[in-house]
């Protein structure tokens, strides 16, 4: 799937500062039975969001009308556990374009980038400032500037730079995905296969 282009985003945020938010919480396994990529947002954080009869828990942040926006803020080790890309799809499908955390699980980070969901890793102190500011004023606007790799609080001007590989940055700004890159490399891949002499029996499986 080609991904949506990302450049600069200004938005309010939804803070969910729990640590170790695993992909089973983001999208429980029983909702992984679809064969398309759409519709997972409906069950995002399903068991934290709704009771078993489907009534919303009023205390859960996604059910709090004070908070909305395209930026989700999570605690440390966000997206740990299962490799299900459905977790990134669910967050994106719900309407988020960015996830902020002080620390992302590896597979989730790759999955997010491949979905067009930007993971922004900030320092612990920046995360704390962000959460305090948003706690006081849910209307706080945060600006994510991908070309300059900068996250800032629009009102106060507090800002920080974030890391992203220049390759992935280009992909997101231009809406390219890895498959575009790889299929243009076919010749090189075939050369590699031919030249791997020590792996004689590897070309066909069985």
């Amino acid at each position: 799937m080609p991904i949506a282009k990302f450049n600069i985003l200004e938005s309010t945020c939804v803070p969910l500062p729990a640590e170790n938010i695993d992909t089973d919480q983001i999208i429980p396994a029983r909702f992984l039975k679809a064969t398309s990529r759409e519709g997972f947002g409906e069950n995002l954080f399903r068991d934290w969001r709704f009771d078993k009869r489907g009534n919303p828990y009023p205390d859960f942040i996604l059910n709090n009308p004070d908070y909305s926006g395209h930026i989700l803020i999570g605690g440390k080790n966000f997206g740990s556990g299962s490799s299900r890309e459905h977790a990134a799809w669910a967050i994106y499908d719900y309407g988020f374009k960015v996830v902020i955390s002080s620390f992302f699980a590896d597979i989730f980070k790759n999955n997010a980038l491949n979905t067009g969901l930007l993971p922004v890793q900030v320092t612990k102190s920046f995360l704390k400032t962000l959460l305090i500011t948003i706690g006081k004023n849910p209307g706080t606007i945060v600006k994510i500037d991908l070309p300059n790799q900068e996250i800032s609080l629009t009102a106060s001007g507090i800002k920080e730079n974030f890391e992203i590989s220049s390759y992935k940055k280009d992909c997101l700004i231009n809406g390219y995905d890895d498959i575009d890159y790889l299929i243009n490399m076919k010749d090189k891949i075939i050369d590699y296969e031919k030249n791997r002499l020590f792996w004689k029996n590897e070309l066909s499986l069985l």
Partner: protein, 478 residues
């Protein structure tokens, strides 16, 4: 000469090229797929009008969604059936080998790869499943990927990956009697935390690892992801080569000799540099159990749950939340806490050795009436062997039934769901909230703790039954 780690040797041999300031293009030798994370990848190829580039390097199975009883009947759950049918359709269209439901090679993807000899030293293996790390036990680079990456590998047999940092974890010494590889890995995760190895690929080393069977090594590598690691691996040795000999897709005759020569070069050079090294002593490890809602929240089974003051300030909120979820009190012991379910199975502990350990412990004893037990072999071949060894009969006498293979209650995508509020001692890999069913409370442990607890109906230290604890390495002999 340049010194290299085991990881470097394999990784570097698979780099087709490198993206400037970006990831490596890594060639993949074997791609394992299953019904849950593949349909969108096939659909993606179709949308782009791309063929599967190397169908002969893909192996498919249905495991996540399938029932573990009455497998001869059509799957009742409509959506599960649809996913399994889609896999059949996709594999047929693209000429991919599928060991589907009822095939004699069907089973959990991470159990069948090794038992069929598809998993071999030096290979790169990926699968849309985080527990792909299991295969690292054979000295290969194996890691879980997302569905976009599954599509990438189908399209190009390559995946774009940044090279991870390297960590070595050495465990020296002899394990105490009754301490299994599951206890070893739960112990390590409890020391490192659920995110402590993020960004790293782990090599496990040391005499305690070398003394383990392949099954034990697979359990260790399997749970590497539970501390955030990209994967885990163990240098192949005689144990590895012996295990592979004669397996369906393992090399034979002259090919085997050639392979052995190559496999014997797969170890970390003496002065190879790791980004991080950790050391543990085997004798410090005892039977473990988890008390919280991530696999890092584990302790010796006879210990007390930490008090809130013992928890790092940043983690206190999530600690409190997990205590609430589990309905446990900080500072309390779990010994004799009543349980409702026991689950033995999964890609962590669903192999023949695990069934032998469990069965030899419950032999001549009786399952507690309060406990519902699911004993689920990891594959059709494990099931067949268990029956050939008479384990099913011993289990039956003790009040247990051997079910049919699948992922089952590990992630509860099929009917095997632990009900809300119930406690399950599980040999699987994750104790996340709702992992085994909405509201289910999971306590992770090894097969021996599961056996002792299944018999008493309470959380039980197996050594309280005396010191005669089975190793599981040998068949029971009826």
């Amino acid at each position: 000469m340049e010194t290299k780690t085991l990881f470097d040797k394999i990784w570097d041999a698979h780099v087709v090229s490198s993206v400037e300031n970006g990831p490596d293009v890594l060639y993949i030798d074997r791609h394992l797929i299953h019904e849950v994370t593949s349909p969108q990848a096939f659909a993606g190829l179709r949308e782009r009008d791309l063929p599967v580039f190397r169908p002969g390097k893909i192996i498919a199975t249905a495991d996540h969604n399938i029932p573990t009883e009455n497998q001869h009947l059509p799957i009742r759950d409509k959506l599960s059936k649809q996913q399994v049918d889609k896999l059949i359709e996709n594999c047929r269209e693209h000429n991919i080998i599928l060991y589907g439901l009822n095939h004699p090679f069907n089973g959990i993807i991470h159990v069948i790869g090794p038992e069929l000899g598809i998993t071999q030293p030096g290979r790169t293996i990926v699968c849309g499943d985080s527990h792909t790390s299991t295969h690292g036990a054979f000295g290969c680079i194996a890691f879980g990927i997302g569905t976009s990456e599954v599509e990438m590998v189908m399209a190009s047999q390559c995946v774009l990956q940044p090279k991870p940092k390297k960590m070595r974890i050495s465990i020296e010494g002899l394990l105490k009697n009754g301490v299994s590889s599951k206890d070893v890995i739960l112990y390590i995760i409890s020391k490192i935390s659920a995110g402590g190895a993020t960004g790293y690929f782990i090599e496990y080393a040391g005499s305690a690892i070398r003394n383990m069977s392949m099954e034990g090594r697979m359990t260790i590598c399997n749970m590497s992801i539970e501390m955030g690691a990209r994967g885990g691996m163990i240098a192949p040795d005689k144990t590895t080569f012996e295990y592979l000999k004669g397996r369906k897709f393992a090399p034979k005759g002259e090919d085997l000799n050639k392979s052995l020569n190559r496999w014997k070069t797969l170890y970390s050079d003496e002065n190879a540099r790791f980004d991080k090294e950790l050391y543990f002593k085997a004798e410090d490890i005892e039977p473990m159990i988890t008390y919280g809602t991530n696999p890092g929240m584990g302790m010796k089974i006879t210990d007390q749950i930490p008090n809130i003051e013992d928890i790092e300030e940043n983690n206190r909120e999530s600690f409190k939340k997990s205590m609430e979820y589990m309905n446990f009190s900080p500072g309390s012991s779990l010994i004799n806490h009543p349980i409702d379910y026991v689950f033995v199975g999964s890609c962590t502990n669903g192999r023949i050795e695990d069934l032998r350990v469990f069965t030899s412990f419950v032999k001549g004893k009786q399952k507690s009436k309060n406990v519902t037990a699911w004993i689920v072999p990891g594959s059709k071949q494990v099931e067949k062997q268990a029956k050939a060894e008479g384990l099913d009969a011993i289990l039956h006498k003790a009040g247990f039934e051997l079910r049919q293979p699948g992922c089952s209650a590990c992630l509860a995508m099929n009917e095997d769901k632990v009900p809300e509020g119930k406690y399950s001692v599980s040999t699987s890999n994750r104790n996340f909230e709702g992992r085994q069913g909405p509201g289910a409370r999971t306590l992770l442990a090894g097969p021996l703790v599961a056996a002792a607890s299944a018999v008493t109906g309470k959380i039980t230290d197996p050594s309280s039954f005396g010191s005669d604890t089975p190793s599981g390495l040998k068949p029971l002999g009826g």
